[in-house]
Symmetry: C2
Amino acid sequence: MLDDVVHAVRVRSGVRVAELDASATPGFSGDRDAGEELLASIGERMSDVQERLFAHGRTGGTRSVLLVLQGLDTAGKGGIVRHVLGLVDPQGVALRSFGRPTPEELEHDFLWRIRKALPPAGRIGVFDRSHYEDILVPSVNGTADAVTLTERFAAIEAFERELVAGGTSIVKVALWVSRDEQYARLRERLERPDKHWKYSPGDVDVRAARPAYEAAYDDVLARSSYDDGVFQAPWHLVPADRKWYARLAVSALLLRALDDLDLDWPPATFDVATELARLDATR
Amino acid sequence: MLDDVVHAVRVRSGVRVAELDASATPGFSGDRDAGEELLASIGERMSDVQERLFAHGRTGGTRSVLLVLQGLDTAGKGGIVRHVLGLVDPQGVALRSFGRPTPEELEHDFLWRIRKALPPAGRIGVFDRSHYEDILVPSVNGTADAVTLTERFAAIEAFERELVAGGTSIVKVALWVSRDEQYARLRERLERPDKHWKYSPGDVDVRAARPAYEAAYDDVLARSSYDDGVFQAPWHLVPADRKWYARLAVSALLLRALDDLDLDWPPATFDVATELARLDATR
């Protein structure tokens, strides 16, 4: 069932985000209750394999997982962090959010701040927005020409190849909400005083530029969904009008990546009998 | 009930850790089931106030909370992070662990690496070990004389005063396990292959030096439990042989600190009617 979801959300060539049914639940035929039940059971499995990953990191292992979350405002990136990453030990998660680059960051190559934020070995890193903003935003604002964008795609591919070769599994997710659902969620942020802090006037500007963002996302999904057998860093396009489905799909992707590491508990780096004797001497 | 726990674990003058009943449940008369039920309800309240704190941080607020966790090996610091901080949104938690200082860190004042790890506004920072290691370890190893230790205590007091004045509430917790329980937990790490990664031969050396650590903890609790009415950063000594109680007590302390911030949702930084009209124009 999980594999059905994983397979169904994987980006296929020629995808157009504007044509996606954002309220669909690809690969899953159950309702919300069934989805939440499945999410809880995924949580338990994820917690176990996450601890193995952490244990490896603490004993010299080099593996890590990097979840890259992209999506328009209101797509639910924050909810994913809360409800999916909340399923595992906070010690095992390294979360980084990327906003508008600072003046210092702008003095460096666009990947400079990204490299500094990579997860240590043994962790699940989460990027709330990422290096793909450096494609999306200039595409929409027209501040980068086609040559610059092509150079950035090349830099990103080289960067991700390097990460994968170094032991990091990359899980790339674009969360997608429909125009109507985005409207409803922004309206709720304006109507409810306990949600005002989530709203920024810029959100409406971005919404007004939605067709340009759609084209930019199509470009990103078409040009950076890597899979040559050895080097795998494909995109997944997750319909996000139903929050429970988006959480289920991302947790399925994360569990699949963790399971694929196929980690057993690391062997002792000391002689167990000797240590038992030393410990007993302190009884 | 929570306030009973908060009050009961607060350090009183003249406390001797070696005399603590580490299996006690001060301020709480219920059993494990009752404790776990209460922990779950604290979790819901904590999650709400944590989100308010986060919202304030995102809208220019300066408040934060810093949980300082100290304790001998096996005292359960990791379990606290998992089970207490796991109750709130991972985005709102900034966790830092301090191990043996690196060569670079040793070239700086002992508070240098600590300052770099302070939580941003709006977050619950967690220090898994802390600047108090820079008192405890040299006290035990005899690598700092009394004058140096006194200077460090003075530096720590000035540092914590500065934090509190800047809007950070400090919650200091020493988790305390008995000799017998520590033995049992170390033995389990040696007997179970899935726990080997948590064991280090140094753990037995530290255990063998337990009387020196007890004296060093007594010194820390006696000399750095600050409360002059305005500047409050007292220590709490939490019996930790019963993991469920330690988690309950730390969550009670954290909830008390969050509640004391008395935060409402931050007001809108924009004109709501104008924004509603702008949003509706994009419908």
